[in-house]
């Protein structure tokens, strides 16, 4: 484990002959307003310093003055690619605190939505990874297949990105009558299309040459730096919350937690593709068995949580997402903290970049799947 002190550089420790380059805040590779200062020796990166906060919107502070119904709406804006899963985390946390058992139907629908969100998120990640590595065509292939998922979302909850579909106690409204059919159609379609991803990028010799053995993160480092999600699992860190602390309908389904031991960029990439397959398996197990019933439990207009501290972990497409609510019994949370996976993943970047080229830095950042509002909150 590299020492934090050694690799870090402060602005007052920069020497005149250090060649520093800013990746961001306006830079194509950072996918948003993230700034990564890289210290270079020619083309070789010696250390990086991620500087965040360009789109810090103070969501945690805002939550302190909002009710629990309203908090959910803010969680969409953090990791906008896992919006539904973020919503669910808050809802589960509130439901656990109030000890409400939601109907089985809700659990099933939530899980299907989770997995569709995960697929959509990984698709967009795949688009962007290809783009970062210079293969622009991936971008359009990925977006083409993401569109049907967004259409399904739009049909059921009226939104394509920020759903607000979950409410404490269930769902805002029942699924659209077409939902099951369209999801099944999509799975059928995507099972045909996903192999194209492998033919276009995974199997490409340039791609494998560029990513294999690059940016290796050992299992110990992954655990120590809290790298979760597919990025952590590529290092062999068994961190799938769906397996470890099952929620919603995950206890009812059989699925595999995909693991690799290499911990390099290629396997971080590969595992996400594998996860898409796995997500389709999960959806297929659930989609025909959605039980009949209510889509929500009747809740009061103003939710008051009992005094205490509540923590809920869910697995977003980026990793281990946590909601920590400190309640003093009022209608607003006393303190609300989001443990975002991207935040921990980003700060592990320094462990992987020592001695790589600039182009590799971009590749490593791409396979960490950074979503900047998730980091800045």
């Amino acid at each position: 484990m590299a020492e934090y002190k050694e690799i870090l550089f402060h602005s007052d420790k920069i020497k005149t002959d250090d060649y520093l380059i800013n990746m961001g805040p306006q830079h194509p590779s950072t996918h948003g307003a993230l700034r990564v200062v890289a210290k270079l020796e020619g083309e070789i990166v010696e250390a990086v310093d991620p500087i965040v906060g360009y789109i810090h919107s103070g969501i945690e502070k805002m939550c302190e003055s909002l009710g629990y119904h309203q908090v959910i709406h803010l969680t969409d804006r953090m990791d906008y690619l896992s919006a539904h899963i973020n919503n669910e985390a808050v809802c589960l946390c509130v439901e656990n605190a109030l000890q409400i058992e939601v109907p089985e139907r809700v659990k099933y629908i939530r899980t299907i939505f989770d997995e569709l969100t995960r697929i959509a998120s990984h698709q967009l990640w795949w688009c962007a990874t290809g783009l970062d590595l210079g293969a622009m065509t991936t971008f359009f292939y990925g977006l083409r297949d993401r569109e049907p998922i967004l259409d399904i979302f739009e049909e059921t909850c009226g939104a394509r990105m920020t759903f607000n579909y979950n409410v404490p106690g269930g769902l805002m409204f029942d699924i659209h009558p077409n939902f099951q059919k369209r999801v099944k159609d999509f799975i059928k379609y995507f099972r045909k299309k996903l192999p194209e991803y492998d033919t276009l990028l995974t199997g490409n010799v340039i791609f494998t040459e560029r990513t294999k053995g690059l940016g290796v993160l050992s299992k110990e480092d992954a655990i120590a730096w809290g790298v979760t999600g597919p990025s952590g699992r590529a290092s062999g860190f068994e961190c799938d919350v769906r397996k470890l602390h099952p929620y919603s309908a995950y206890p009812y389904v059989k699925f595999e937690e995909k693991l690799a031991t290499e911990g390099d960029t290629f396997w971080r990439y590969k595992l996400r593709i594998e996860e898409m397959w796995e997500s389709m398996n999960i959806i297929e197990q659930l989609i025909d068995n959605i039980p009949e019933g209510d889509h929500a439990v009747k809740m009061k207009g103003v939710i008051k949580l009992p005094e205490g501290e509540f923590y809920q972990r869910v697995e977003t497409s980026k990793g281990d997402f946590g909601v920590f609510i400190v309640s003093d019994g009022k209608k607003n949370p006393y303190r609300l903290k989001f443990r975002s996976p991207g935040f921990s993943n980003l700060f592990a970047l320094n462990q992987m970049v020592k001695g790589v080229k600039i182009a590799d830095l971009v590749a490593i950042m791409a396979t960490l799947d950074l979503v900047i509002p998730d980091i800045d909150r």
Binding site: M1, Y4, K5, L8, H10, V52, G53, H56, G58, E60, K61, S65, N96, A97, I223, A224, W225, G226, F237, E238, C239, L244, G308, E309, F310, Y311, R313, D320, G322, F324, V326, Y334, R335, K337, R339, F343, S344, L346, F347, A348, D376
Partner: protein
Amino acid sequence: MNNDGLKQAISQIESEAVFKDGSQFLEITVPAGKLHHLCNLLKSTDETAFNYLVCLTGVDYPDCFEIVYHIDSTVHHHVIVLKARTEGRENPAIDTVGDIWPTAYAHEREVHDLLGVKFNNHPDMRRLFLEDGWGFPLRKDYVDPVRIIER
């Protein structure tokens, strides 16, 4: 290890620890000065093996700041919540646990940025999100007449 076992193991290390069975996890409050020692042993002892710091955050209470650590073990899959309180609200400071779980360095910077708690021995105590000279927004007494509209 279940909660009782953990209680026993921890009270052996740290006699001043106060236990509370929370709704989900075992919550343990320890004096700020003993925190680093306890964390170190929690990670290195094989029976506890708390090697994964899930979440580190701070809460502003009227008389102190409470730093909350959610710690997981990838070996035994048990989770505890450690808590340590700073002495008063004037110049709050607490030992860093970054040398035990490096991910804490980043999380501590966030707590420092938003709550103004200083972490001793932290190598890089810069602000994270906000610029230098900004207040500490997650403190309950933070006032910003321009950006916060009172309801």
